[in-house]
């Protein structure tokens, strides 16, 4: 960022004020909708039915969250699925992709060109949704399986190319050569020389992965019926399209008091409460990791 720049070449106070005002107003376009969702999640259902979604509700209430807690099993299951999808998926992706990126970074490797093309071609052309679906369901048996979250999204060609660029730009070839002369094999060079020098690259791609996986609702929508395996985002999508989904898929529906509870279910603030718990973890961490995204962006635009 421009530190202290142009003390002699600054905006006139008038323009500075104009720009600041415009930019702050723009930021309200982001902040106000988010605030509304949070406020509604804490509004009483009675207030919502009288006045709709309001920035200042007639009455506050924790009912949305309370019911979310009571219907806990589904939400807990979904949280676990999402966390496993995110953490395990990212770990697997990073290991597999960074090894391939290391291979592509070896200038003297005869198969390098072929392997690069073998990967890059998948960026140009793809079978698309339907053949992938048929393959995954009919031939790989991934329908209603947890592995659907890990396997088809294991490697992103684009990310591998970025990782390769990270390696070639941050680690000089001579380091590989030095390792070889010292008699280290490729695995040793990879784990002891490359990985330690490579943390910024891994962090960037890892964060891309974490965000994509945390926000993945489509895989669950397409491949999962079993409510134990529905990730949070898919749960939210289902609540959004049929607010009854939670009612039908909750164990409390089996008890008399549970049925009574479901009749009075505060559906509107429940939906917003669910949104808040889905979004909160991401919003709490992203300001700290923002800079990695910027690095990734720059690398990505240098080498697609």
């Amino acid at each position: 960022m421009a530190k202290n720049r142009r003390s002699f070449n600054q905006l006139t106070p008038g323009w500075d004020f104009t720009f600041s005002t415009l930019l702050i107003l723009t930021s309200l376009l982001v902040l106000i909708p988010m605030a509304l969702v949070i406020i509604v999640s804490f509004s009483a259902e009675s207030s919502i039915s009288n006045r709709g979604f309001a920035f200042i509700p007639e009455a506050w209430s924790l009912d949305g969250y309370r019911y979310l807690g009571k219907m806990g099993s589904q939400v807990m299951d979904s949280y676990l699925v999402t966390i496993a999808h995110t953490l395990l998926g990212t770990a697997c992706s990073l290991s597999v992709m960074s090894m391939y990126a290391y291979v592509l970074a070896q200038r003297n490797f005869p198969a390098r060109t072929f392997l690069t093309w073998f990967l890059a071609f998948t960026m140009l052309f793809s079978g698309g949704l339907v053949p992938s679906y048929i393959m995954n369901v009919r031939y790989y048996n991934l329908y209603n399986s947890f592995w659907i979250f890990i396997l088809p999204s294991l490697v992103s060609a684009y990310n591998v190319i970025m990782l390769r660029t990270f390696i070639t730009t941050t680690i000089p070839d001579t380091l590989f050569e030095a390792g070889k002369i010292d008699g280290a094999g490729h695995f040793r060079i990879f784990f002891q020389i490359v990985l330690p020098l490579f943390q910024a690259g891994l962090a960037t791609i890892g964060l891309f992965n974490v965000v994509a996986r945390w926000n993945d609702w489509f895989t669950g929508l397409l491949y999962i019926q079993n409510s134990k395996l529905i990730p949070l985002q898919t749960l939210l999508q289902k609540i959004q399209s049929t607010i009854d989904f939670l009612k039908n898929n909750s164990q409390v529906a089996n008890t008399p008091e549970g049925i009574e509870m479901l009749r009075n279910l505060p559906t509107q603030n429940l939906r917003m409460a669910c949104t808040v718990i889905v979004v909160a973890p991401m919003l709490m961490v992203y300001p700290f990791f923002q800079r990695y995204f910027v690095t990734g962006l720059t690398i990505g635009s240098i080498k697609g």
Partner: protein, 314 residues
């Protein structure tokens, strides 16, 4: 030196060298992945020429030639989804780039640098939300019974109770706005990173020559941004045939009344697969999308090689 090069050349002839074994082992997981999840589905595209019977599988199903394509192009569907996909993508590219450049220019000039940093963080926020969440945020405004917009209409004496998810007219501009809402922050931060990398000397020289702020933006900052902008535009051209599924499916609540203006190739394929169970035609649409997309991508890459060979993908 020449001897060494010669030596390397000699070695290159041999494709499999013992010392490379480890490299093949490291590449193996990705190779298996690519075969199973990228190349096998490509092979699966022959379903576009079949009347698929799931139990018989891809190898056992009967071939029907171009029937699925005839079916796809016999209705106006193919035209509508192609038009929507392309026009939306063009609008997204234009609006997002313009807004992001203007915002980056303004942000880079703010005197209060801490505020500029804070604003950046706020603008990035929607990038971290899923389309499902964006859809719910939008419902808070557009919901028929409770939404803020209808509440305001009632409060100001209007009739209210408009079902916005059935009003075709508002959706094209609305979708462009929502896409910008989610995407502009990201591009702004990218452009800002480029701007902050521009050497201070250019501006100092410009000031000495008596250039105004506006002239500095016009003759120094924008030319520096031109490169990254053209690359990202060309990239976007390469994926002009891909509709953002989440935006067109989730944000519109998959409302049938809106299909004429919101249906894109990706949502059409999804519906063909899940609701209509018309797998053959869906695959045909997918093949159409991939093939035309491929041509666009090659074209885009060709343009990049003309502008800047270094940035070309291949």
């Amino acid at each position: 030196m020449t001897e060494a090069t010669h030596n390397i050349r000699q070695k290159k002839r041999r494709f499999f060298r013992r010392e490379d074994l480890a490299l093949y082992v490291m590449a193996l997981p990705t190779i298996i992945f690519l075969v199973m999840f990228a190349y096998a589905p490509m092979f699966g595209l022959i379903m576009a020429f079949q009347d698929l019977n799931i139990t018989k599988g891809i190898l056992g199903s009967p071939y029907v030639g171009f029937k699925n394509f005839e079916f796809l192009f016999s209705t106006t569907d193919a035209y509508v989804i192609t038009r929507n996909t392309v026009l939306y993508n063009l609008a997204f590219m234009t609006v997002n780039t313009l807004v992001a450049v203007i915002m980056a220019l303004m942000l880079s000039e703010l005197r209060n640098r801490r505020m500029a940093k804070g604003l950046q963080t706020v603008y990035m926020l929607p990038h971290f939300l899923s389309w499902t969440v964006v859809a719910i945020v939008l419902t808070a405004f557009l919901d028929r019974s409770y939404g803020v917009v209808n509440q305001i209409i009632i409060a100001t004496g209007g009739k209210g109770m408009v079902d916005w998810y059935r009003q075709k007219d508002i959706w094209p501009p609305l979708l462009v706005f929502i896409n910008a809402w989610k995407g502009v922050g990201y591009s702004t931060v990218l452009y800002l990173a480029v701007i902050s990398g521009i050497s201070e000397e250019y501006y100092e020289a410009a000031v000495l020559d008596g250039a105004s702020k506006f002239q500095q933006a016009r003759f120094i900052t924008l030319p520096h941004l031109r490169f990254v902008i053209s690359i990202s535009l060309i990239m976007a051209m390469g994926s002009i045939f891909r509709g953002d599924f989440g935006l067109f499916y989730s944000v519109t609540k998959d409302s049938g009344r809106l299909y004429a203006v919101t249906d894109v190739i990706d949502t059409y394929i999804y519906r063909g697969l899940t609701k209509l169970s018309n797998v053959g035609m869906s695959t045909a649409a997918g093949l159409y999308q991939s093939a035309v997309g491929f041509i666009f991508l090659l074209g885009a890459n060709w343009v990049v090689t003309k502008i800047d060979p270094e940035s070309a993908m291949f």
